[in-house]
Symmetry: C2
Subunit: 311 residues, 2 copies
Amino acid sequence: MAKQLVFGHQNPDTDAIAAAIAYAYLEKQKGYDTEAVALGEPNDETQYALKYFRTDAPRVVKTVSNEVDKVMLVDHNEPQQSAPDIDKVTVTHVIDHHRIQNFNTAQPLYYHAEPVGCVSTIIYEEYQMAGVEIPKNIAGLMASAIISDTLLLKSPTTTAKDRTALAALAQEAGIDPKKYGLTMLKAGTNIAGKPAAELVDEDAKSFEMNGQSVRIAQVNVVDLGDVKDRIDEFKDAMKQEAKKAHYDLFVTLVTNILDSNTEGIVVGATGAKDTFAKAFKTTLRNGTAQLPGVVSRKKQVVPPLTEAFGK
Amino acid sequence: MAKQLVFGHQNPDTDAIAAAIAYAYLEKQKGYDTEAVALGEPNDETQYALKYFRTDAPRVVKTVSNEVDKVMLVDHNEPQQSAPDIDKVTVTHVIDHHRIQNFNTAQPLYYHAEPVGCVSTIIYEEYQMAGVEIPKNIAGLMASAIISDTLLLKSPTTTAKDRTALAALAQEAGIDPKKYGLTMLKAGTNIAGKPAAELVDEDAKSFEMNGQSVRIAQVNVVDLGDVKDRIDEFKDAMKQEAKKAHYDLFVTLVTNILDSNTEGIVVGATGAKDTFAKAFKTTLRNGTAQLPGVVSRKKQVVPPLTEAFGK
């Protein structure tokens, strides 16, 4: 059987990396010749998890069609979040928990998506269905992914399935989810030493909304004060990036993982910024907006923004 | 919980009807307020199965947004095969075994697709996962759907999962799959009394291929001779329909269910007809082509035709 690459979205977060490793292992047990790879380097949080569970980071690839004809996607489906040459290969499997957009295939495929907090929760189900035992280090990475995506089960995206999966995986991996989780999340919030240009790209995704190109980045902190003095630096970095990549709107969500509040930093065309303000029934002050209780890009930001841009 | 409609594609076949009934029942056990409906009347084969298993045909609806805000789709995802007002409702669940095309959502959803012969095979898995017992009549309809979609496990779309599901469902329903199956399939092949216009619409689906509108109908027979004298009548009916609905290409696959051979009847623009001939490395004679061994629209016709039209 020809080799297949398994990977998550660009600017991978802990779920994108953990899910690729976990799904590649599972499908290998089923007879596929799989290799987990990544479309970027792991971030600080993911590096903490990989080191803790003594697992090598997946090989980083820039393109995929130079290596394989077929691929499996985890944690994404939208082409603009995938490998730049995704249209040149056949997608045979998708495990995801996002909306479906601009994802078209010529052939039937395996597609398992559920509106749950984390893809690793769905992959946990896949292991159960297949009756395959989860290696301890992979269980630890999957638990890390659930903790990361649901901010320790506090995000409104969290479902009963995520709770069940995290409890089982944490036991398997031998960790206390709260204690380990908070340390892991904090490992991803050290923004002091990093330039804004890097921070607004690390966990950023592109979306098409009614013909408009929208970029949404997310930065986790333990104190919103950490960015207060750096707003202009963030805005400058976002404006430069928006100009280069032709984004009509660029939003950075600075999320306090301890109290679940977010400050949105917004740059872009005036009309697009107005659309953002309308979507969240707020007004921008110096290009920023308080978004209390907002922690989920997928559930609390993308849908109202998509709606506001019109279908 | 607000009511949701569950339905298969337009011009429903046995799988579209059976899957809607089976999935609506399953999701009802999970707490959803579901009703199975259909986007058209059941065909002769499906009517035979419904009568045999003493089950009422689902209510036929023309539109859905006048009744509900949310729906579940079975056996299709492409909007042009769905309710005409599908864009006005939210799709929360999809169970399918086709390619994904032009299916876009604003929200994450439950999507379970597998490249197997029949959607009822996937729904059988869903029952297993949920630990819900399948009522005897529904098991019979699901078995009928697998027999119909795989032509008694002879289609190249057939997988090990279809075989396992059919064996289990047939036992549950108390039928001999071969004996019952052949009688059911034959019930759907009586074309003598029907006008061609009706036959080319009964099991027809629309596809968009690189901007071209392609209609592909399938008619099952037990003797290809049954249509030999009616080719012109078929072509006239197809031309009229193509003109009315602006199809660039209209193909009717007349399939002998006993020996698994197909005769294709093709009308449309010259360029589109040439593309068809190229896709199947054949030449059209009087607008017809022999397609030996071709029985599956999804696996043996749509992919090469999509490829030939270019991406």
